[in-house]
Symmetry: C2
Subunit: 378 residues, 2 copies
């Protein structure tokens, strides 16, 4: 991922997917003796129910990644000195499997999550994972748990691959051993009554990340650091925070744990990936979709003042977050230092709705996948 001393903050352009190298993992499967009773698929939460099985693979220095296996879902044992509990050398990914009307299981751009895994691993000094191996592991587990993919509108099977450092050691360095796991959780529609614009608190005290740090990597520390501001926003009646940059404290970066887009005077603007922002896969998909529709998208610095000036002039048309969980989360209101602006009268914008319908349509197989974004699990 290193080009000289520079770092690739976005998805790497070349990967084994493009080079066509294939390596086949020999995954051992140990089926659960008793299957769980499935939760009510019409009343699912997020990340609280887990399926019957999980994927595990170990890393040992000198030996590499080894022992890929699917085993019954259950607790893991760790030495209390395991490095992850002290120094947070850990990473995760988030993606979803959807069931089509005709019963096929679809993944959405899994290669992007897999490529980002190795971008994160590189920053966290976690050993790389063979991309084809990781795809195979995801497919194998989803295939075993196909019955766990809910079918109601807006529901899906959330896929959580993650890696953490397991060395029983209290010095600060990269671990020599790791555990890579995948767990699955059936999840409900993010917005039960359809997508609704939310109120957002523009955060001026706390900072999510800064260039030179780990903001572009999907690692626990970014999320631990964000909880305090999130709680502060909640206490004030806001759904989430809009993060400003850590240097000048004026450029917008992300909203909650999502990327953010603003439509001003016909132009769609999203912050450029300069090291402190997560390169979201939904973000990337929305940009490609807008380009295909002939809508101008600019990736650049966007100050909170520019947004407020547009609101004053009446040119701030839409604003929304993008992420795997919600796909699109429209922003109805911003509060910056007590100054409140309402966007599109607090209603979902036309473009936001069109993006939401198209992306979820492709994900669930209801719309034509002209981008070849979905990957079927046999």
């Amino acid at each position: 991922m290193l080009l000289g001393l520079g770092v690739v903050y976005d998805f790497p352009k070349y990967s084994i997917f493009q080079r066509g190298l294939i390596q086949v993992l020999n995954i051992k499967v140990e089926k659960a003796k008793e299957l769980k009773q499935k939760p009510d698929f019409n009343n699912l939460g997020f990340g609280t129910d887990f399926t019957d099985h999980m994927f595990m693979m170990n890393y040992t220095e000198g030996q590499g990644w080894h022992d890929p296996r699917i085993v019954p879902y259950g607790p893991i044992t760790l030495d209390p000195s395991a490095m992850v509990l002290h120094y947070a050398q850990e990473m995760f990914e988030g993606m979803k499997a959807y069931k089509t009307e005709d019963g096929r299981a679809l993944l959405f751009r899994p290669e992007k999550n897999i490529q980002r895994t190795n971008v994160t691993n590189d920053r966290l000094c976690i050993p790389k994972i063979n991309e084809e191996d990781m795809l195979q592991a995801i497919k194998a587990l989803v295939s075993v748990e196909k019955d766990w993919i809910p079918t109601a509108s807006g529901t899906s099977l959330y896929i959580r691959p993650f890696i953490f450092a397991t060395d029983p050691f209290l010095g600060v360095r990269a671990s020599a051993t790791y555990l890579f796991m995948i767990i699955l959780s059936p999840v409900g529609a993010y917005y039960k009554g359809g997508i609704n614009p939310v109120k957002i608190w523009v955060e001026t005290e706390y900072v999510r990340a800064v260039k030179g740090g780990v903001g572009y990597a999907k690692t626990g520390g970014n999320y631990a650091a964000s909880i305090k501001a999130q709680m502060k926003a909640k206490e004030r009646g806001y759904a989430q925070v809009l993060w400003l940059d850590g240097v000048e404290r004026k450029y917008v970066e992300e909203v909650g744990t999502m990327n953010v887009f603003f439509k001003i005077d016909g132009e769609v603007i999203t912050p450029a990936l300069e090291g402190s922002i997560l390169p979201g896969i939904t973000r990337n998909s929305v940009i490609e979709l807008l380009h295909s529709w002939g809508i101008s998208v600019t990736e650049r610095k966007l100050s909170i003042d520019e947004i407020y000036e547009a609101a004053e002039k009446g040119t701030l048309e839409e604003a929304y977050g993008t992420g795997t969980a919600a796909v699109i989360s429209p922003i109805g209101q911003l509060n910056y230092n007590g100054k409140i602006i309402t966007i599109n009268d607090g209603k979902i914008g036309e473009l936001s709705q069109r993006i939401y319908d198209t992306v979820t349509g492709i994900q669930t197989g209801a719309a034509e996948d002209s981008f070849n974004w979905t990957v079927e699990v046999e």
Copy 2:
């Protein structure tokens, strides 16, 4: 810890230690059936050997901290969805117990670690711990493991209290359950052949922390983010990195995982605690010690350029890191963008040596403890 919207980056001034409130934990003790063979105390590493027992206490929302217990050291079980493995909601402390010549066990300023625990907890949204309870837990465990305190010069029993989020949940929020643990590890002299100045790489690409983030808290994410720069320095033949601030990229912040001091023209300077720097207990002790010796110490911004200019003028007299592990780690050389300066001819400075001798003397009971810094474990 909150004063209005401001945050206390240093130790809080008032604590139950000063208010004299005492609460007595009812710690259950389950002794190990078989004791481990102790490692060779004359040849100890750091953080690789652990004692026979550990302390554990659970937190459950609504119930608070409960079930304090000392149990045989051994693996813990976690659900794979335990929040700490995904979002790094975790904290730790590091301190040491020393054995005096007449066989007494001494802690060094434990109240500072305990106060800092709650500063960290506040930032990470981890529930506070009663300060007297935590002291009692540390004392109880060290008392059970007194035979594990090594006595050779420079050795000690390292104490690692830590807390992590255990909710089996994939949403991003503060956990409703936590585990607080203390583990102990006999550790060798940080520098086997006495303290020796090290070569330091001034890091210009990676950033440790920024104001508004979690730099002042003792949490895993800060350490995970630091590994990459540390490896880069090691590959280039340097022992550690000197971190510059994340905003202007010119003010020194910390060295490796230590606070940093420079002596320029008779004045001792250390970066002020403004949110991105850990409020070190050795740092605080060194400042108090220097004041008591009538030596001027200034806590302020110090740019790397000012240091290089001083080196050029011949007024850069000494430089050293301070931390629990090494106490004092003198800096013999800096490399900033390829420009190398040598400090005090690469030899340990007079003041560095005096601080080291005094602090370690107090810690081990060999020197008079005029500050009342040590606390005896019965």
